[in-house]
Amino acid sequence: MIKKILLTILFLTIHYSLITSHSYAITMDSTRFRIDFSNINSASGDKSSSGYKLSDTVGQLAAGQFASTGYIVKAGFQYIHSIIPFSFSVSNINIDLGTLIPNTPATGSTVLSINYGGAGQYQVTAIEETALQTLSGNAIPNTTCDGGVNICSESTARLWTLPSSYGFGYNMSGQDVPDDFVSTSFFRPFPNKAKAGIPSVVMTSTNVGRNRQATLTFKANISPVQPAGGYQTIVNFVATPSF
């Protein structure tokens, strides 16, 4: 009888631990996320007197106009009243491509997220600081994709599927990505800052929006003569609102 009770308790424990292993209690704040409450306005709108004119929304993040002798300042986009701050997230800043095997492409991805309800429009640019290279300077060249009619550039994505096409590049998929990324097989090389490259726009939208997400997939494919070693590079992502 005791054993039966013990067994029942154990089974219930297992059931609990297995079934609920990926569920977590909802908290209002943690190290991974936060919840923004709706805005509570105590005052909003335009105010004026003989000495000043002020357009603001008290309780919102930043939208206002202040005038004084010698200077005028306007903060935020006056045509947008939003509580959503301009924010930018990169889901993973250390993308491991694993051990590269010749003629076998390796990929890794990270998710770029943007909230820009109060920023009018936005852009995210990307540029590599150097080629994907070892400390001794051996480099995996930037991809030119499959070649022929499929030669890609920093501004034009093309098909890259051939195992004999070597290099390092990226694909974009999701929201607000450039139109030339027709599918997940289309890639571009990164512009190279060490070679005076100009950052490429990888996400942009002219419309007000929030929680826009795109996946950037890195791809590397090496030839059999590529020297062994630890290849690294740093990619700079910069998110800016419009003006």
């Binding site: 054993k3 631990s17 990926h22 190290t31 993040l61 930043a62 010698g70 200077y71 005028i72 300042v73 306007k74 903060a75 935020g76 006056q78 701050p85 301009f86 924010s87 930018f88 997230s89 990169v90 889901s91 993973n92 800043i93 250390n94 993308i95 491991d96 491509l97 694993g98 051990t99 390796a106 890794g108 990270t110 997220s113 820009y116 109060g118 920023a119 009018g120 852009q123 994907l132 139109d179 950052p199 942009t204 002219t206 419309n207 890195f218 590397a220 630890g230 290849y231 690294q232 590079t233 740093i234 990619v235 700079n236 992502f237 910069v238 998110a239 800016t240 609102p241 419009s242 003006f243």
Partner: protein, 328 residues
């Protein structure tokens, strides 16, 4: 024997429990920053300074942040920017925070916010004109892992600062409409377009700023039909920087419910509904009090081609069938 079975059974169960309770999920290192306000527009006379309070918040993992100010220039005509490596021009920037300085990294913990008190100073004698900058808050790349093939990422978020230096308070307003037209349809001549009555009609309006100070358009795009029907679309007052051109947008948003090849590129406004006859599109744009207005107009025609063609085909087929049946 029975006891051994129970022992093994309990051991497996306990191992399972320890495994499932003890193995916490491992997450990739994440960066998440927010920076407000995203835009500052200021007109400052030489010798004056202002202070702007920015709020920088870290919603990701703890990270080291570096703040700096760089110049930017407009790129294209959709409001994108191109950052430069450093700040140029006469405007000077510094942080008023006691323990923070520009180009001096600091740690920002998870969910922690830092107020950045940015001092913007225009020195005496600074030449009149516009100067455009971006305040950047950028993270540092994670440390190198020996022997692996990996890509490390640095993330930065920016907020734009538009500074107009003027000693008299007078700014130069010199706009020009470079394009006001419908897209798609059938072109009869350079200025006349024909659309099907059910088409969505994208309209583009580009304004060039030939002056040396930024301008902000105000006004509307108006549609007037030959039966007296009218519609007005208010222009969104987005800045047009000095010596640049920008697509002007009007509400409602041009991207809503707009599909097809003609809607793939940005538009100022998209007209939708049932159109028939002649329509006149016009725009009248001002740039604030006592400033000149600029005007442009265009016309288009709309007829129910698709319905008429469908009707004609249906009648033709019907007549053919009737004749065929009659002959049989």
């Amino acid at each position: 024997m029975k006891n051994n079975i129970y022992s093994i059974f309990f051991s497996v169960l306990l191992s399972s429990i320890i495994y499932h309770l003890g193995s916490l999920p491992v997450a990739a290192q994440q960066v998440s920053l927010s920076l407000t306000p995203p835009l500052i527009e200021s007109a400052i006379s030489p010798g004056k300074s202002i202070m702007i309070a920015y709020n920088l918040k870290n919603n990701g993992d703890p990270t080291i942040i570096n703040t700096r100010v760089v110049s930017f220039s407009p790129m294209g005509n959709l409001g994108n920017i191109q950052l430069k490596d450093e700040a140029t021009g006469p405007v000077r920037f510094s942080l008023d925070n006691s323990f923070l300085q520009l180009n001096n990294p600091f740690i920002l913990k998870t969910s922690e916010a830092q107020q950045l008190l940015l001092r913007i100073r225009v020195p005496d004698g600074a030449p009149n004109g516009d100067y455009y900058y971006t305040l950047l808050a950028e993270t540092q790349a994670p440390p190198t892992t020996e022997g692996t093939v990996s890509t490390r990422a640095k993330a930065a978020i920016g907020a734009n600062i538009l500074v107009t230096v003027t000693d008299s308070g007078v700014v130069e307003i010199n706009p020009k409409i470079t394009l006001f037209a419908t897209k798609g349809g059938f072109t009869l001549n350079q200025n006349v377009k024909i659309f099907d009555s059910f088409d969505k009609i994208p309209v583009v309006l580009y304004v060039q700023n030939k002056g040396n100070n930024l301008i902000k358009p105000e006004g509307s795009i108006s549609l007037k039909g030959n039966f007296g029907e009218t519609a007005n679309f208010d222009i969104v007052p987005k800045n047009i920087l000095a010596q640049s051109e920008r697509l002007i947008e009007a509400t409602p948003s041009s991207s809503i419910d707009c599909n097809g090849p003609s809607c793939n590129s940005p538009t100022s406004v998209t007209l939708s509904g049932f159109f028939i006859g002649t329509y006149q599109l016009s725009t009248n744009i001002g740039f604030g009090e006592n400033s000149p207005s600029i005007f442009a107009s265009t016309i288009f025609y709309a007829f129910p081609f698709k319905v008429l063609i469908g009707l004609f085909v249906t009648i033709a087929i019907s007549v053919y069938i009737i004749k065929r049946l009659a002959s049989d």
